[in-house]
Amino acid sequence: MGTNKTDVFIIADNICSPLGRTTQQNFEQIKNGISGVQKHDRPDLSDVPIAASLFKNNEFFVPGTHSYTKFEQLLIASITNALSHTDIKADDPKTGLIISSTKGNISLLETEENNSALQKRIGLNTSAQLIAGHFGFINQPIIISNACISGVMAIVTGMRLIQSGQYDQIVITGADVISKFVLSGFQSFQALSTERCKPFDKNRKGLNLGEGAATVILSGDEKYQGNIRVTGGGITNDANHISGPSRTGQELGDAIIKAMNNAGVKAEDIGLISAHGTATPYNDEMEAKAIMLAGLQKAPVSGLKGFYGHTLGAAGLIETILAKQSMEQNTLLPTLGFQETGTAPLNIINAVSNAAIKHCVKTASGFGGCNGALVLSK
């Protein structure tokens, strides 16, 4: 314990998903057991039917005339809602912006002619400039594209930038859109389940993909004392395989331990683990081992991919926001789809229940062997 770092508070947030366009709507839907994952027959996305959490075809997120892509509209809608809960100014020189995405505007490849102008339009730098311009951010946006830990890494990066005094407040946003590009890739890996996914369950058969955006606003201002804080982060690499997880879970376990040490908390202090839980056979087994190696086998585990699918660059943000909501409302959210232990034994929550949560660990892991973990504290 005894850390004297700047406190970093979560002062506003938003989730924009097929389940709703505010955090509150999303939290209520989950408490009511409603999942965004549905079976879809979408020839524009896949030759075979898929189970995924998708927005309606041609749904708009930013009204009026503009040339923003769906990816950019999602970011704008999410940031707009989150900012509306605060009085912070985008054009304050001490306000930062972090954007997290794995594939951004890649779906443009499917409909537009490939040339240098299109390649520039696809670039995350282009989207970042448009988003920054829309809101009037004056600092250059920081863009993180680090596979499926991007969202967790974005929050850890934001926490550090406030602790080091670089920014007083920082808007952290992320989104991914499900396209034929992404779907065909996961199909080629045979990683997708044709049913709603079953994180950590004995009969889990793979993941679902999902669309969404989310935004977290962090501040170091003491006036937010009492808000949930981001207190620690840890990031490691498996150094084992570019697409297969570690066999032992040691490296994700190390990321969790680093995050807890950074936060100055012990395993017995953790009242919730918001798991990555993609529901692929190998990821969940690795993650269960990692949680045990970190000494957290008794901590309640909640995995939310049964509600959202895997929202890629938004996943770490969406799931962290719901963990924060769980802490504020003393409510554990269920791991939809989990029925029977199918990994190293964990304390997996499968019904809405009440619990006081002082500290929470959020985990993530991804291609390239990357692992991330962060700690939230009340």
């Binding site: 596979a147 590009f181 890739g185 690499n237 150094a239």
Partner: protein
């Protein structure tokens, strides 16, 4: 806090069909396309790593730069492997691999191409080769941004998250490519880990 404390103990630039190590040209082969040139680099340095052939162009470029960077000058057992990490940046993400993957989808989507459609896979390849298990990150920046890199790496070293960090730029799109990697350690020797030095070495070509 960290002024003068950290040093660039090695650098490698691969650009314009030329390889520089510590600002000295160590290999060049004008007039070849990027694919052939990267293979020529692999052969020139007598590297023996069959996984190289499976990599996409971005990973080949970054991996080769890391091999030249660390060759004969870095004892990786000097540090815990958990304390060695990477901070890489580029402008074009994995677009080079994205285009190749998308071209293949019309026939049969290939998992071995799809896995490279993430820009951080090059980091994974370098970590696998060397057993580096520390923190790593891939950021997209419009151009080489020495200020940002120095800020990120200083944070990781100042806070003892890493003891040695490979940082820099690895960008590949079509015929255009450039890698600029810097090994940064808390060491008496080497070039000061300063913005001016990073920019000077980056612009050597």
């Amino acid at each position: 806090m960290s002024a003068g404390k950290y040093h660039i103990t090695s650098s490698c630039i691969i650009s314009g069909n030329t390889v520089y190590k510590n600002e000295v040209q160590v290999f060049g082969q004008p007039g070849t396309n990027p694919g052939d040139f990267l293979l020529a680099v692999y052969q020139h340095f007598e590297l023996n790593y069959p996984k190289f052939y499976k990599m996409d162009s971005l990973s080949k470029l970054g991996w080769l730069a890391s091999e030249v960077l660390l060759k004969d000058c870095f004892d990786k057992n000097k540090y815990e492997h958990e304390a060695i990490g990477l901070v890489l940046t580029n402008a074009n993400s994995s677009l080079d691999a994205d285009l190749k993957y998308w071209d293949s989808v019309h026939d049969m989507a290939s998992p071995s191409l799809f896995v490279y459609t993430l820009p951080n896979i090059v980091i994974g390849e370098i970590c696998i080769r060397n057993g580096f298990k520390g923190e790593d990150a891939l950021y997209i920046t419009p151009q080489f941004d020495a200020v940002f890199l120095q800020q990120q790496v200083n944070y990781l070293l100042d806070n003892d998250i890493l003891n040695a960090c490979i940082c820099g730029w690895v960008d590949m799109i079509g015929g255009d490519y450039k890698a600029a990697l810097f090994l940064v350690e808390e060491d008496e020797d080497g070039i000061e880990f300063e913005i001016e030095e990073l920019n000077r070495i980056f612009n050597i070509t």
